[in-house]
Symmetry: C2
C-alpha cells in the first residue's frame, strides 16, 4: 500500500515502495542523492529562512511579528515531510525517522483546538481565516499537510502526525461542507489530498468534500482577478474543460484530483472529460520535454501550439503535476500513452531541475537559453523564474520540496498490476514483487536504460497459475523487439507487449532502439518552424555553447550566438566516443542598422560535428547558452 | 515655437504647429478624429472613472476616502491637458479653450502651498510624499504636468496653469536639488519635462535638475525589486547603456531626456551613448512595425533578436516614446535614419492603436493574434495588455491620453529647418513655412502618401537668398526619383535628396516606389524563421483571417488557423483592385496525440491569392486572427 495513489478501482493497480526496489542506475542514483543531499539541503534552508520556525512562533505567540516567508510557506514543510515519509518507507532510515518525528511534532504543536493549522491567518494582526481564498493558499497548505499524512500513514501507520492530519481534514470538511463555506481555494491541491485520505481511512466524508471542491470550481466562486478567472480554473467547470489553461500547476493538480474523484465515485463523464483535456493538452500545449506552461506571466499554459522554446516556463512543479495526472490516468485506463508521458516528463523535466550535487534547482525549465546564465550566489535566495543556472533556493520554493517527495516515491511509477499479471511501465534496474490472484510473483530487472536500450527481466518467482508479463514499448521505440529466454527476437510494436506466463528462471529481453533521431515539430508551432531537435530513447538532447567552443568554429566569431548554427537533417545524428553528435555549418550574418530586408545567404563554411548534451544535464559546466531546437540548414 | 521639443542647439531645428499645417490625408484625418472623438472620449472617461474628480476631492478634503484610480492616474489628466493645449494651438478652438481652462483650474486648485501636487500622497491616511519612489510615480506625474505646461506656454503664453506648473517644477528642484533628496523616480519622464521647461523659461535650474536625475540613475539609488533594477534602468548609468533594456517606456523616456540634457549641456559623450544605444536597439530589439518591448512581463525589452511576434508587447506608449527619442536624435544629428524610425513607428504603432472611430485603443500591439479577440464591452474598462480588439479605456490608461497629445502635435514631426534650408522629414499634404537667414519660405505639399508615392512640393514663397529644399528618401525607397519643375526624374538614393534653391512657383516632385515588397527577417530572429512579411511603402501589411474566409479555402478546414497557410516568395506580392495580395497554398496538418515526430508534408492544394490588410487597420471588422509574418512555402 506504500504508494501515493491507491485507487479502489480502475484498469491497473499501482505497486508501491515495498513492492518495487530501484537499485542504482539513472533513477536509483537520483533517489540516493535525494536522500543524501536534497532532503537535508531543503531541511536546512527551511530552518534558515525561518519558514519552519513559523510553527514555533505560532506556539509561542510570536505571530505575526516573527513570521517569515510567503503565505504558502507552510506547504514547503509539508512537502518535505511527505518526502521524508516516503524516504523512510523506502529505506527505513532511523536517522530520518527521528528528524521526521521532531519536525512533525513542531507542526502538530501549532494546530488549533478546532483542527485549523496555518501560520499566516487568524491571529490578531493577521487576516482572518479564509478571508483571502483567491491568494491565501490555506486549503492548498492543508492539501499538502494531508498528503504528508497519507504518506506517513502508508509507510508507518497511525501516529500523532496522522492524528493532526485527520483533525485538519475534519476541520476542512466542517468549514467547507454542505452547510459551510461554499467556495474553493485559489490553488487546487486539497482535492487530490482529501481523495487520497478517503482511500487511506475509508472515510467517505473526505471524498465527498473533494468532489464538492471539484464541482464548485469553474462557476466564478472566487471572483475576478487581474490575471482573469482562468488563472485559477474558475472560468469553466472541470467536466466542461476541453484543454488545460491558466496556471499550469493549478490546472494539473485540479485535474489529478478530478480523476481521483471520478474513479471513486464512478463518474465516467468526469473521467472522460479529464482524459480528453489531457489528450488535447499533450497534443497541442506540451513541450518536447513534456514540460507544460508556455507563459511566464501567470505561469500559465499558452493557447494551442503556442510553445516558444525561449519562453517556456515549464515549471518543475508543473512537470511533477503532469506526472501525477498521467499516472492516475494510466491506472484508470491502462493506456500506455500516459506512461509515455510520465517517462518523458520524468527524464526531461523532473530530472532536469536538480543540479548534479542535489543542492541546486531549476524552477522553470527553458528549452532555449539566449544569454549565458549568471553564476549563482551559493547562499542567496533566487527569484522563482530565474532560469539561468540552478539556484539553491527560491523566495517561492515549491519546486525543491516537491522534488524531495517525487524522488522518494519514484518506485511507485515503475510497475502496475492487474488480475492478469504485472505491467512494467518504467525501466530501472531492481526488483518488482506483486501478489496476483495466480500467486505471488517476483521479477529482477537488469538494465542500463536509458544509456542502453536492453531491458532484461528475469522471473525470480512465478505465480502458480496463469499470468502475463507486460512490458511498455514507448511510442518512439519503433523497431523494438522482445525475446523470451533464448528465443528469437520478435517485433514489439509501441504500446504494450505481453508475454504469457513465463516460469521461474525465465528471462524476457526487451530491446528498445536507441539510435539518436531527428524530431520535427508540428508545422503549427510557429516558434520552432524550420528547426529540428534530437532525441535518443526517452532523452531530449540539446546544443550547448560550451560544446560549440570545443569545436573550431571561431573563424566565424560564433561566441555564444548559437542561433547562427545550422544542422543538416539528411543524415542521422551519429554517436561518436559515446556522445551524440550532429553535423553543423554556420550562417554568416552581417550586422546592420535594421534587421529586416533581404533574405539571408545560405549556410557557409566547413561542416563540423558538434556534441549534444542530454537536456537534463545542461548548464552543469558553467554559464552557457543552449537550445533544444536547432535551425535546419 | 509651437513644438514639443525646441533644442537650443543641434543639426536641425524643428518647425512647429504654427509653421506646418496638415490638410487632410492619412494624418490630417487622424488629427481631426483626435479632436472630434478621442479628446472628448478621454475627457469623459477620466470624469466617469473619477480620476479627474480626485483633484476636486483633494480640494474638498475628501482624500483618501474618495480617491479613484491607480497611483499614476493624475498623469492622465495632464497628458490630456497637453493634448488639448496642442490642439488649441493647432486650431484655435474656442470651445476646447474653455474646456482646457476649466480642467486646468481644477488641477491648479489642488496644488499645495509649497508647489506639491499629487492626489495620491501626503495626506493623513495616505503614504507620505516621496515614500515610494520605486512605484509611486510622483515625479512621473510632475513630468507630465510640466509637459502640459510647456505645451500651454508655447501655444498660449503664461497663464494660471503655467504658473502652477512653474511652482511645481520649483518644488521638485527644491526637494530633489543639490541639498535635497538624491534619488530618482521609478518612472522616468521628469527629465524630458524639466529640460523642456528650461528651454521655455530660460531657467538653468530646471536643466540642472534634469541632468541630475539622468546622472543619478543607474547606480542602484532606487533599491531592488522583484523584476530587477534593470526594470527601471537603475542598473547601468545612462552614459554606459549599450542597448535599451527593462521597461520600454521607462527606458525610452529616459533616453529622450538624456538627449535633451546632452544637447543643452554640450555633453557629446552622453549624446553619443544614447545614439549608439538607439542604433543597437533599432538593429536588434525592434519589431518590423517599429514597436518596442518583447515581454509582457515587465513590459520590457527582450534580449537581442528576441522578437516573438505573438508576444510582442509593443506598447503604444513605447511607440510614442520611440518617436520622441528618434525625433530628438534627428534634430541633434540631422541623420535621416531617425526620421525613418519616426515614420515607421507613426504608421505602424501609433496609427494602429486607435480604432477607426477614435474611441477604442490598443494598449499593446501584437504582430500575431492566435485566437480571435473577444468583442469589447463598450462601457467596460479593460486590463492593460489585452490585445484582442481595441478597448474604450483601461485600468492603466496611459495610451489613450498619450495618443491625444501625439496626434495634436503631429505637425511638429513633418519638417525641420537649418540655416541652409528646409527639410521635409514626413510626407503629408499641407503647408510648411519657415524663416531662413535667406528669408521666409513657404511650401505647399500635395500628396496622397502613403496610398501613393508621389509627393509634389510647390514653392509658394521663396527666400531672397540661396537655400536648399531637402527631401527625405526612406531607406526602403530604393529606386526613388526626384524631378524639378518639368525636368527629367533623377535617381534619389535613400537618405536625403537636396534641391538647390528652387524659386517661387517651382515644383519638386519626389516619387517613392510603392510596389509591395517581401521583407525577410535577420536569421538570428528565431521566432520568425522561415517566415516573411510584406511592406508597401512605410506600411507593414498583415494577413487577417477575415480575408482568408473570403477566399475558397474551406476545403481544408482552415477556419481561423492562419498558421497552416504558406506563401511563395519567388513572385512579388501583387496589387489587384487596389488591394495588396499574396499567393498562398495550404499545408494540411493531421491532428495527432503528440506534436513532434515526422517532418510535415509539403504545402498542398491549389494556389490562391489572398488580400492583405494594412497592419494599422487590422481587427476593424470584428474578431479575427492575424499575422504580420507569414510562413514561406
Amino acid at each position: 500500500m506504500t504508494s501515493p495513489v491507491r485507487p479502489s478501482t480502475g484498469a491497473l493497480r499501482p505497486l508501491g515502495l515495498h513492492d518495487v526496489t530501484i537499485d542504482g542506475g539513472f533513477w536509483g542514483e537520483r533517489q540516493a542523492l535525494n536522500a543524501a543531499a536534497t532532503i537535508p539541503h531543503v531541511e536546512a534552508w527551511l530552518e534558515r529562512l525561518g519558514w519552519t520556525g513559523n510553527f514555533d512562533a505560532a506556539v509561542e505567540g510570536r505571530l505575526p511579528a516573527d513570521r517569515a516567508g510567503r503565505e504558502f510557506s507552510d506547504s514547503e514543510i509539508y512537502k518535505l515531510l511527505e518526502g521524508m515519509a516516503w524516504e523512510i518507507g523506502r529505506t527505513g532510515s532511523v536517522g530520518l525517522e527521528a528528524r521526521f518525528t521532531a519536525l512533525a511534532a513542531r507542526v502538530s504543536a501549532a494546530q488549533e483546538p478546532d483542527g485549523y493549522l496555518n501560520t499566516m491567518f487568524g491571529r490578531p494582526g493577521q487576516k482572518p481565516r479564509y478571508s483571502d481564498l483567491q491568494w491565501g493558499h490555506e486549503l492548498y497548505c492543508f492539501g499538502h499537510l494531508i498528503q504528508a499524512g497519507v504518506a506517513r500513514a502508508r509507510t508507518h501507520g497511525h501516529d500523532a502526525f496522522v492524528e493532526t492530519v485527520v483533525r485538519a481534514a475534519d476541520h476542512v470538511c466542517e468549514q467547507f461542507g454542505p452547510d459551510g463555506d461554499q467556495r474553493v481555494c485559489g490553488h487546487p491541491e486539497i482535492e487530490v489530498a482529501l481523495a487520497e485520505l478517503a482511500r487511506v481511512t475509508g472515510e467517505r466524508r473526505y471524498l465527498d468534500q473533494a468532489r464538492a471542491f471539484v464541482e464548485r470550481r469553474g462557476h466564478g466562486v472566487l471572483g475576478d482577478i487581474e490575471l482573469g478567472t482562468a488563472y485559477f480554473q474558475d472560468d469553466v467547470p472541470v467536466r466542461e474543460t476541453e484543454v488545460f489553461a491558466g496556471h499550469a500547476v493549478r490546472a494539473l493538480y485540479l485535474a489529478a484530483g478530478a480523476v481521483d474523484v471520478a474513479l471513486e465515485t464512478g463518474d465516467d463523464e468526469l473521467l472522460a472529460a479529464v482524459a480528453a483535456a489531457t489528450t488535447r493538452t499533450l497534443a497541442r500545449r506540451t513541450y518536447l520535454t513534456g514540460g507544460m506552461g508556455a507563459h511566464h506571466e501567470g505561469e500559465s499554459f499558452g493557447v494551442d501550439f503556442e510553445l516558444p522554446p525561449d519562453r517556456s516556463y515549464s515549471e518543475t512543479c508543473a512537470g511533477i503535476a503532469s506526472v501525477m495526472l498521467n499516472h492516475r490516468l494510466l491506472l484508470a485506463t491502462g493506456e500506455a500513452r500516459y506512461a509515455d508521458a510520465v517517462e518523458r516528463t520524468l527524464f526531461n523535466v523532473v530530472a532536469t531541475s536538480p543540479a548534479a550535487d542535489g543542492r541546486g534547482f531549476y524552477y522553470t525549465n527553458t528549452l532555449h537559453q539566449r544569454v549565458p546564465g549568471k553564476e549563482v550566489v551559493p547562499d542567496e535566495v533566487s527569484p522563482r523564474a530565474s532560469s539561468s543556472l540552478r539556484a539553491p533556493f527560491f523566495a517561492v520554493s515549491c519546486c525543491p520540496t516537491n522534488l524531495t517527495r517525487t524522488f522518494a516515491s519514484l518506485g511507485a511509477y515503475v510497475a502496475t498490476a492487474s488480475d492478469d499479471g504485472v505491467q512494467l511501465q518504467q525501466y530501472a534496474p531492481g526488483a518488482v514483487r506483486a501478489s496476483l490472484p495466480a500467486g505471488p510473483v517476483e521479477l529482477a530487472v537488469r538494465t542500463a536504460y536509458p544509456a542502453d536500450g536492453r531491458i532484461e527481466v528475469e522471473v525470480v518467482q512465478a505465480p502458480v497459475g496463469a499470468w502475463d508479463l507486460t512490458l511498455r514499448v514507448p511510442a518512439w521505440a519503433v523497431g523494438a523487439t522482445v525475446a523470451v529466454d533464448d528465443g528469437a527476437p520478435a517485433p514489439a510494436d509501441p504500446g504494450y507487449v505481453t508475454v504469457a506466463g513465463p516460469g521461474a528462471g525465465g528471462v524476457v529481453v526487451l530491446d528498445l532502439p536507441m539510435a539518436p533521431r531527428w524530431t520535427f515539430p508540428d508545422p503549427r508551432i510557429d516558434a520552432v518552424r524550420g528547426q529540428v531537435a534530437v532525441e535518443r530513447g526517452p532523452i531530449v538532447m540539446a546544443l550547448e555553447s560550451v560544446d560549440l567552443e570545443s569545436v573550431d568554429l571561431d573563424s566565424v566569431g560564433l561566441g555564444a550566438d548559437v542561433g547562427a548554427v545550422r544542422v543538416r537533417t539528411d543524415v542521422a545524428p551519429r554517436v561518436h566516443d559515446g556522445r551524440v553528435q550532429v553535423p553543423v555549418t554556420v550562417v554568416e550574418v552581417a550586422d546592420g542598422d535594421w534587421p529586416y530586408g533581404q533574405a539571408a545567404g545560405p549556410a557557409a563554411g566547413q561542416e563540423r560535428c558538434v556534441d549534444l548534451v542530454e537536456y537534463h544535464a545542461w548548464a552543469e559546466r558553467g554559464p552557457s547558452t543552449m537550445r533544444v531546437w536547432m535551425p535546419v540548414r
